[in-house]
């Protein structure tokens, strides 16, 4: 069934139709929450809450980019959780490292170790970014959204998206440049 039909049926309260949308987008939503929050349990909670909120509030979706609308819900939930944590810092940087998935071509243990090490360095670098800069980098460089979609998710202008990405990458380059060779 087309996404538009699924959305219309979801607006009428069809939970099966909505769960087909969940199946389609849960990987992106979970990855965003996981990269933003670091802790798997918190990311799972944020993801589940985001989908419940989306189903409850789907009547307010007036068309346009459903993916961006959904990601804005989970982004706001993550921001709220991070604001709460700032008052009680408990997140360890180790929690931000995600185990790389096994490739379809069987990768060697060395490749796996290298990818894990790289993932750890990038995750640590992301953790140093302010919330909105981190969100912009995750949405563009990891999730692959366009500038326009990011502007919608973050409820900001294109100029703001451009500026946040620019500053975030400059910080990442400074952090990573001190810890590894960026250029051959």
């Amino acid at each position: 069934m087309e996404e538009g039909d699924l959305i219309l049926r979801s607006k009428e309260g069809d939970l099966d139709a909505f769960n087909q949308l969940v199946e389609k987008y849960q990987r992106e939503v979970y990855n965003l929450a996981r990269r933003m929050l670091g802790e798997a349990p918190a990311a799972e909670d944020a993801t589940q809450e985001a989908f419940i909120s989306a189903f409850r509030g789907i009547g307010k979706f007036r068309g346009g980019n459903f993916r961006a609308w959904l990601l804005s819900i989970v982004a706001n939930a993550c921001r709220d959780q991070m604001r709460f944590w700032r008052r009680r810092p408990t997140t360890s940087l180790d929690a931000l490292v995600l185990e790389p998935e096994a490739d379809r071509d069987a990768q060697s243990p060395e490749d796996y170790a290298l990818r894990r090490e790289l993932g750890e360095k990038i995750a640590n670098a992301l953790a140093t970014l302010p919330t909105d800069q981190r969100l912009a980098v995750i949405l563009y460089d990891i999730e692959g959204l366009s500038y326009e979609e990011i502007a919608q998710v973050m409820n900001s202008s294109l100029g703001t998206v451009r500026s946040r990405l620019s500053r975030a990458r400059a910080r990442l380059r400074q952090y990573l440049g001190q810890r590894m060779e960026l250029l051959p």
Binding site: Y30, T47, I52, E101, G119, D141, E143, R162, L182
Partner: protein
């Protein structure tokens, strides 16, 4: 060759959107013309591109479980709290109406006094049904039991207001329990 520092600074600020092809054609021309003559900015671009490529290599991971929504309980706060709030508001408005009506004698009536009782009424200082001076042959009476209505509606406002607060606090407790 002398390159104004401000131009390098300006171009460095545009390298990120340049990588993403998000510059206007004139901005892109400016950047490319500058890169042809500035090695420092070229190195800056390459290191920035390397960072972007590194981050692009971070894979998406599979979610640990399905996040399909099993069932969504309706929000409990809506009906009872809204009903009690509306009822309280109506009771407050009616109470205010009765207070004002009583104060302004809006519903006072002038009724003809029977001729044979006229003198007796005028001689009595405190006739319970006479509320004000009337014209000759008429007396002013209050036909609404205002003070009883005021007391009744004041009590109603207190009861409905208390019920509103109790239901609101209960719905808040449920919401917090679901989230924790």
């Amino acid at each position: 060759m002398f390159k104004p520092k401000s131009e390098c600074q300006k171009v460095k600020g545009m390298l990120s959107p340049y990588i993403d092809r998000q510059l206007t054609s004139s901005e892109q021309g400016l950047v490319e013309a500058h890169l042809e003559r500035c090695e420092a900015c070229c190195r800056e671009l390459e290191s920035l591109r390397a960072v972007v490529n590194l981050v692009h290599r971070m894979p998406l991971v599979s979610p640990p479980r399905s996040f399909a929504v099993a069932e969504v309980a309706p929000k409990r706060r809506a009906v009872p709290v809204a009903v009690f709030s509306a009822a309280t508001a109506v009771a407050v408005l009616l109470l205010a109406f009765f207070f004002v009506s009583d104060a302004l004698n809006l519903f006072a009536l002038e009724v003809p006094v029977e001729e044979q009782f006229r003198e007796e009424v005028l001689m009595i200082d405190e006739a319970p049904d006479v509320v004000g001076a009337a014209g000759a042959g008429y007396e002013t009476v209050e036909n609404w039991p205002f003070w009883q209505l005021e007391v009744a509606f004041a009590a109603l406002v207190v009861v409905l207001g208390a019920l509103t607060i109790i239901w609101w606090r209960r719905s808040k407790a449920v919401e917090i329990a679901v989230k924790s």
